[in-house]
Symmetry: D2
Subunit: 281 residues, 4 copies
């Protein structure tokens, strides 16, 4: 294989119109790029067109993007992503299970990602992180306003220039300022099947309601608590023998699987956000 | 097998105390009843004891119950149920899938139940019901107050003296008067994973929220809409290609399975209600 | 909407090559056909390209297909399907649950299909079928060789010219002659999670093996028993309290859901067979 | 709470007979032991009775067991287990995911277990194990017969006197000699939904067969490869886009969850083995 041959992902969002697939694939063909995998979706409610095209060949990014922008309708968003390893920063509080799964998968396979750093508002997980030779930073919220704490977090995060920020059971509500810094880049795991049991202590809420299923939801974070675009959800069955604590223990496996699974899709450039929804191609 | 040998289910709920299992099983042993299956549960939060005992032998109901009531603490509830075929009345509106599943299972195996009658507030499903040689009654709500309509429903139901009333997509809210007539005897299927999407049009709510899982919940009906004790829940995965209508179509299979499944447990005398929860033994 | 506007599904299978999507969508665009939904897949092991294109517009079938055949490589298979109601014939023996689900969904929504007839080698299900005003034919295998019986079945089936033949718990092994009559047109439900428990009495095999999950498999029928291309599979959890009979009862819901689900995909022209596999677009 | 008050688990297996529950619970009551949780099961095929009783109080083990042995029929097995932390030794080869999950859960919650040591036939996972401050031993099989290697493994394991030996993707077939050393004490994770795809490379077998579901099975190891008593199984759905490698990646999460889940049940003294089956109480 020639050294110049690369693999990239082209992501297109635009208003639906006749001939879009034809136009885009024509341009790829003209550029002698091979389509390894292609998926598209039209949301007929909003007349929005989504396409993910995995391409292989020798890329001239500039002319390719120019050709695409010429051919596509107004208000189109067209992005070309490299497929190399991406970088994340993980925020944590005290619970280890989601973090541990990400550390394991990053180090031993399952997630093609570089964990640049882990930042905690407590230092409980410092040892675990350092066992994997990854920097841990404590940014305590003691004696800080929420705004000031988030500003310190942002400063620490930006030091690493991550592609995504992953909240692995980070048990603090983020300020709008924080959220706006990382649009569609912050992924959270909520320990319930949203929109059931929004807010704190969802397992206790679930126990009190007497549900027979508990779940977890991975979503992008926006300004409304637990209401961002959902990426992945899963559940397990429980019964009357489960206390709230039992639910919590059993739920941890769901939480970590859902968070890792969602991150896998995001890193594969498969997740498109529009409004409060995701399209996963 | 001697004709006098019968199988019955003994259900006990009482405050927890030392020696309860021993006391109850001693009495069964003394009565020369064989324990075919036994399950018990202690809710340590409320110190409540639950036991379901499937017994085989020659029963003297009166002396058995007297012995048990002597031995058990105050505030105990002890019931002895025959295991023969029980009777239900089904309420419907226009949707056929849950009703159809119950008709099929009652006629061809899967549910050991007699469907005494089906009552609809529309006559859409009359033909389907009559195909299975079961009486259908139309109790239209046209020109009736909700109270008056429910009174007519109660009159029609009581004509059959059912053990349980099953709401197989009966799309009306019941009056407190109706609910009080059948305490822990009315089973409803709600077309969402409660407590998410309470109320009307849950699939449209689910679509709007962009969830990745939809579900169904079978529960006993109490005075608070969609808040009665949950018996069974299940879910299926959906993705961005599902419209609200697609969710509705896919959800129907979950709804009917969950309703049939919950009814199966209830008819097996396995479901105990306490507060807003169920114990299933 | 103009009366001439139609919706059709174009299905393409061909050796993979650069520019295929572009070529096919160009032709659709040239014919002023709107792509409502498009999916494609390349099997990189066998270099096979699959594409399903749902089109809307005024069709000139002849010129469209001619243009496509000109543009596509040798050994391409290109089919244009109408999206109207398709016809099936169902074969049964004695079990009602899969048949009942198909009858219900055909009559009351869930499957856009015409059940032309049901044919049984026993008459157990005659009444059920006739309740839904559908012809039932008994083709008894008494005193017939397997070949002769299958010939009579074929004759009876061909009378209706169905698009697909559905084996809804038809408990006989088909002759190669039968199978060759309906290539990739016969859909079977096997009551196990294939390839576990091939052959007869899978629930008894499952019980004996002490499994904790049971399942069902819908597949196209080919010459090797239970080894045709799999369309859909699902499972449920069981435990030590399940006898083989309990597994059978619980498994029925999985069987019927999987068979209906597989048929839904097949009728939507989404299922492509190649070798012993299916691609579902 | 008085220091002498302890919690223990009483496990009984015996031929079924009238009055067993009554006899056992009477003796517990007589010993002033409180039953915290009780479960029992009768296998009516083999007339075998199983009971798990979680007891709290001041134990006189000797007189309690003597009373029980007096009361129970011949061929009864009655065991009293402490509920303290148990000890395991883990065997590995090169794959990290199951091991990592056990290390995380042992260190950070989820499994109340002491990992005494990890033994590998390769040293690939040495660093990971030592990160968690647990001894790792390499017992290479180079230049050794299978018998000799297993003898060295046994020697190394016995040094730690573990309650259970966990095969966390240990990719070697054990000799009968090894298996006999640890009857019902060796727990394996097999990376398929047994009995499908016994033996090596199950994901490649699954890919070739074109299945739509893949799974994992945790089982006790006996003399027949992959045929020991099954403790837990689970599956995930896959589709035509999954290569064998994709199945392998996705399957890892199922494998680790099923192994951890099975171990949790075993450590809770809930799993009873009889013949080739398990009862989980």
């Amino acid at each position: 294989m020639n050294l110049d041959v690369q693999r990239k992902v082209l992501r297109t969002i635009c208003p639906d119109a006749k001939g879009l697939i034809s136009k885009i694939t024509n341009i790829c063909y003209k550029h002698q790029l091979n389509i390894v995998q292609n998926s598209e979706f039209v949301d007929h409610h909003t007349s929005q067109f989504f396409m993910r095209t995995e391409l292989e060949g020798r890329f001239n990014d500039e002319t390719l993007m120019a050709d695409l922008n010429d051919a596509l309708p107004e208000h189109s968003v067209c992005e070309l992503h490299s497929t190399g390893k991406q970088k994340i920063v993980i925020l944590v509080t005290k619970e280890a299970h989601c973090l541990g799964d990400l550390l394991m998968k990053s180090a031993y396979g399952g997630l093609d990602v570089e964990i640049a750093a882990v930042i905690g508002n407590h230092d409980t997980l410092k040892t675990l992180v350092e066992r994997f030779d990854i920097p841990f930073h404590l940014v305590s919220h003691d004696d800080l306003t929420r705004d000031e704490h988030d500003r310190q977090m942002i400063a620490q995060i930006n030091h690493y220039q991550p592609d995504f920020v992953v909240l692995a059971k980070y048990m603090r509500i983020l300020t709008p300022n924080f959220v706006q810094h990382y649009p569609n880049q912050v992924i959270n795991i909520h320990h319930s099947f949203l929109p059931a049991f929004i807010g704190a202590k969802p397992y206790h809420q679930a126990y009190t309601r007497g549900v027979k299923i508990i779940g977890a939801t991975a979503h992008f974070v926006n300004d409304n608590l637990d209401e961002g675009p959902i990426i992945m959800q899963d559940v397990i069955h429980v019964d009357h023998t489960y206390s709230a604590e039992d639910m919590m223990r059993a739920g941890r496996d769901v939480e970590k699987n859902v968070l890792s699974g969602a991150l896998f899709e995001v890193l594969s450039q498969r997740v498109f956000v529009y409004g409060n929804r995701t399209v996963i191609l």
